[in-house]
């Protein structure tokens, strides 16, 4: 009997080890706080934006799906529209060193300037801690946090899961739609969608 308990305990421990260290906040739940360096070496603390709506965008400049939205200017337009409303936009790069899309601070600055991106800050998360804490799976993967620190949207940037720029025109931009609803004091009508894109290139 004792032997069996030991075996089962052993199994449980194995399961814990084998489980990916992914946490994923549910919609309406309070999100975990994080601190990360931005591309200029400044520390950004999520809690400093309490009271404001915050958008998180997972980024990998090498990913064709990210290129779709930056190459067409769609992501920059969405960023400009959001920050124009006083929304905080944090673009996060969880690519591990050596993986596609990983960038150092100066490289990220060059990228942001080059594509004319308009985030409030571009955060570097080479260890994937923020990414895994939020269960970020794809690039892009979008999250919206309300002023009370609760998750109100997670999922794709829009409803056309392709890498084709031509599909942007007819797509519903979930982020802009949710931000509009939040501003109007309405609940977010589509609070969760399936994100699409390349997998986040975490350190394995």
């Amino acid at each position: 009997m004792i032997h069996r308990i030991l075996i089962e305990t052993g199994l449980a421990a194995d399961v814990l080890v084998a489980a990916p260290l992914m946490a994923e906040p549910d919609v309406a739940a309070t999100v975990p706080n994080f601190r990360a360096f931005d591309m200029t070496g400044k520390v950004v603390d999520l809690s400093q934006y309490r009271g404001k709506t915050v958008v998180l965008e997972w980024n990998n400049p090498g990913c064709p799906f990210v290129k779709k939205h930056y190459g067409s200017g769609n992501m920059q337009k969405t960023q400009a529209a959001a920050t124009g409303q006083g929304v905080v936009w944090l673009t996060i790069n969880s690519g591990a060193p050596g993986q596609q899309g990983h960038m150092t601070g100066p490289e990220a600055q060059k990228f942001v300037a080059g594509v004319g991106a308009k985030p409030t800050a571009y955060l570097l998360d080479p260890k994937g801690l923020v990414g895994k804490g939020y269960g970020a799976k794809t690039t892009p993967h979008m999250y919206i946090i309300d002023g009370k620190g609760r998750l109100v949207y997670k999922g794709g940037i829009d409803d056309k899961p392709t890498a084709d720029t031509a599909d942007i025109a007819g797509a519903r931009n979930h982020v802009l739609a949710a931000l509009g609803e939040l501003r109007a004091g309405k609940p977010v009508s589509v609070p969760e969608t399936r994100p699409y894109g390349c997998s986040v290139k975490y350190a394995s």
Partner: protein
Amino acid sequence: MAAVRFGLMAVLLWLFAGVALAQAPGEQHVDITLVAESEQPAPGSEVTLALASVPQKGWHAYWLNPGDAGLPTRTEWTLPPGATAGEFRYPVPQRLLIAGLMNYVYEGPFAPLVTVKIPAAATGAFPIRLKLNYLVCTDAICVPGKADLSTILQVGDGSVTPARRAQFDAWRAALPRPLGAEGTYQVEGKALRLSIPFPSAAATEGEGYFYPATHGAFDYAAPQKVTRDGDRVVVETGGVKAVGPIEGLLAFGKQGFWIKAVPGTVAGAKAAPAASAPWSAGVLAFLGAVLGGLILNIMPCVFPILSLKALSLAKANAEGGNPRGEALAYTAGVIFVCLALGGILLALRAGGATLGWAFQLQDPRVILVLLLLVTGISFNLAGLFELSAPGFVNRAASKGTGGAFATGALAAFVATPCTGPFMAGALGAALILPWPAALAVFGGLGLGIALPFLLLGFIPPLRRMLPRPGAWMETLRRILSVPMFLTALALAWVLGQQTGVPGMTIGLAAALLATLGLWWTGLRQRRGKALAWLPAALLLVVAVAAAAIVHPEAKASLGSQAFTEARLAELRAQDKPVFAYFTADWCLTCKVNEKAVIETEAVEKAFADHKVGVLIGDWTNGDPVLGRFIEQHNRAGVPLYLWYKPGEAEPRVLPQTLTQAMLRDLAAGG
């Protein structure tokens, strides 16, 4: 200005594209070819098309649900008016866990299949065009791909070339089979327990895994525990997100079953994961093996060695030797050989499993080989020929502790052929039990063989109680050949049940051939010729080769026969009503219908009274010929029950749940 900025942006994007830059634009990382099963599909019929896909090395394409990231393939058809395309059916995918993200992919060649309906009025050229948007990735990068595929078929007689048929049959075999029964699942907190009806008798290979087709049902990367528990499979996993009907693919190795599940109450799996139940079975099997080994000592082929050793032990005792050491060395030798034999068997099992062999007594080939083995043992016991161990073992057995070890090894070695029923039990256990338990069984057998000697070594007075070897042993040996012959007879009967008269005849002929070889060997042994085993070895090879030509006949319980379209046509030509049913070992509904309705006395009597021809199609291994026949009746899988009434062109498709009354009425009316 805007254009300049856009251009600059594009250049920078290319710079940051990193590895992706290395891929020339338009380069494909998966070769996709559109293949039609029939180039001349008949009007009003369906033609199956395949997307024969070959990903480049290091690249993977995605299943219909790609998992945590990736994209399913999107398709856009251009078909002649009136033609319609169905849904793509995907083969069983693979799992690819990259940095905690689960991907459901194909890393090797695969072929999704789809059927296109040809309008009844179609004539002449039938152009098919298919645009694909797909994603193909390596561990590090992803590249979206596009393909514009087209083919022009000619509406005709629906003929299929044999090569094409074989190719499509192989692709069909890789598809999951619809299980035909609904599963239930229960959510407790974040944990999900899914129960899938699955007969306990169905053979499965490899580890079980449930691929959800429904997105958001649960966390893809969460570990799964898949347990077979009686007539069901229980899948337990975590990270549940949403509730609703769940659809997906239950896979065991390359076998796949398509299932749907609805919310319900699901009890936990009774059998603890591969631990407690097999362990208690293992302990029982171990004790049985010890007992079997013990009994083996009085077998004439082992006993002389034992008494020989007992004598040398007495000498050692008298001369102040080390009887305990000798006894332990002997025990070690016996157990070593038994474990080695077990190890070889387990290695064979592992090798066989990778080749897709399932070791089952239901397989007539296994029965035939057992028949040959038992026949050989019987004739050995009857004295037709002798078994002798290699000379070096005999020489090593002569003296000392090393000698004791070798004698033990020799005893076990020599014992192997005459272990008969005991060894067969251990053999069976070795093929079924998990490997540690299987090895324990072989170890137990060895311990049993060594036990008397071990006792003699530690309790010298027992030596006097040992019977003397003599002529009585030869007599005993001859007598023991009788139960062995009876075992052979029983095996021949089983073979006959499985394969009918032709199969049994092949089996008996093979046994005769093997016996002739052994007899010849016995004659050569008596004349002291070299290479005495040559004729036996040759003829045994031929006899074992006969295993290749025995095939299972459908399990006949009511004068039923295996389904073939030719046999069906024959019976219908005789104006007989025909009940054709299609079943599989993994189909619980089928088994329930068979036990409760078809194989009951009342139904069998009604069928016999009205001379109903019964044909059984066994789809357990996904036989493609049966698969096509089943599909022709608008079913994707089993169960399928067809009733052919004389004079009616088309069969009646009976409901999936049969009743005795229904079949009796049909028999009476047909």
